[in-house]
């Protein structure tokens, strides 16, 4: 394979990862790292370095559209970024202390748990009243969004901001440790704990992921793990995919569909993570 062909292949996979990532509110790093390391035999350190930049690219590319359409809740995002950036800093330090194996195992377990919780709620269905939370009122976190399927503006209330803050700290730590956006942890935290609508959770997660990733990207850059030949095409491809995803797919996918797809991806990722922690 020539470097030119290599970059084209990386670009192609990156477009796919960006498309899927923007649809699910994840950075695409979880898809890219296995592709780069297993299929293209890229050194894991460089795959992670490229991934962290792609995570920023996805977030910024999709978030631009989500923010303009007022789908992302910028106040919720800013409040929760307190925890994700602190977590990303802790994660960068923790990754040096604990082995990769332990990280993968914990991660796999958390992912499987999230998927099961979402599956359970999907079966129950129906609207449960959102409990009143004085802190959420004080922070003015409540909002509304335009629902394409229902054809009207939907107002929603937010609850348990402190629970969200705690979960976001964990998500930030995982992001800093593995060099991923960890949107797969951010979306359930907002959707299940804080009771934001899934579409708002997905959009807000995209909005927050860039800031979380930026908090650890500096470390990867300083270590020399961001290679222009790998991170370059990854960055371009992922942004292109994310742009396509936010522009054309989001409007057509209903909440239930999105949730089912999301549960599937969570389970697959959990399996991959556990296997990495367990395997040789």
């Amino acid at each position: 394979m020539t470097p030119f062909l290599f970059m084209l292949v990386v670009l192609g996979f990156s477009v796919g990862a960006g498309l899927l990532g923007s649809l699910l509110g994840i950075g695409g790093g979880l898809i890219l790292i296995p592709v780069l390391t297993l299929l293209l035999k890229v050194d894991i350190q460089y795959a992670v370095g490229a991934s962290i930049v792609s995570v920023i690219a996805t977030s910024s590319g999709a978030a631009a559209a989500y923010v303009r359409d007022r789908m992302a809740n910028t106040r919720v995002a800013m409040f929760l970024e307190l925890a994700t950036t602190a977590g990303a800093l802790s994660g960068a330090f923790l990754s040096g202390l604990v082995g990769g194996r332990g990280v993968y195992l914990v991660f796999g377990a958390v992912m499987a748990w999230s998927a099961l919780v979402m599956l359970k709620r999907m079966r129950v269905g129906g609207e449960v009243p959102v409990p009143v939370d004085p802190l959420a009122d004080r922070l003015a976190l409540h909002g509304s969004y335009w629902d394409e399927a229902q054809g009207r503006e939907v107002a929603y209330r937010v609850t348990r901001p402190l629970a969200g803050l705690g979960l976001m700290y964990v998500a930030g730590t995982v992001s800093g440790m593995l060099g991923i956006g960890s949107g797969a942890l951010k979306v359930p935290a907002m959707d299940l704990a804080m009771r934001l609508p899934l579409k708002v959770s997905t959009a807000t997660s995209n909005f927050m992921i860039g800031v979380t990733a930026a908090a650890s990207a500096g470390v990867y850059f300083a270590r020399g793990n961001i290679d222009p030949f790998i991170a370059g095409p990854v960055c371009v491809g992922v942004t292109l995919g994310a742009w396509l995803g936010s522009r054309h797919l989001m409007a057509r996918v209903t909440g239930t569909w999105l949730r089912a797809l999301f549960v599937g991806v969570l389970l697959w990722v959990a399996f991959e993570m556990l296997r990495k922690g367990w395997g040789p």
């Binding site: 050194d43 920023i56 359409d69 335009w146 860039g210 800031v211 030949f229």
Partner: protein, 150 residues
Amino acid sequence: MSGASTPGPHGPEATTAALRDGAEGSQLQPELLISDLLRYGVAASLSLVTLGTVVTFFRHPDYLVSTEALQRLTSPHPVPHTLRDVMEGALAARGRAFVMVGLLVMMAVPVMRVALSLLIFRQQKDRLYVGITAAVLAMLVLSFLLGAVH
């Protein structure tokens, strides 16, 4: 959401939404500013990355045909990873350094977004969120400083 065929926030409803927000004290404008910052930041970054890639292949035609050159790309090797390396490379018109400048711009976009949010909350005299945003910005600056120490 911005599909041309379906009426969304940018259809006829956009006017009423803008009017309503205007009455409440221009809620829509900050969101447009942030959206533009993200879009133009990403566009600038991608232009630099693409330009740098083209320059690289222009300077190294062997990358189009040689299979040996790939070995160097997929195994650990020193890449520019200090600001001075990157700037010196960019001044010498090295394609790789242009790509790195583009990637650095991408990393700076979220930081600039938080800084812009800080200005917006200040303008809105929202002291609670000025505090929250300042703390996030401080955390980001700290992480970049710690990265440099590493």
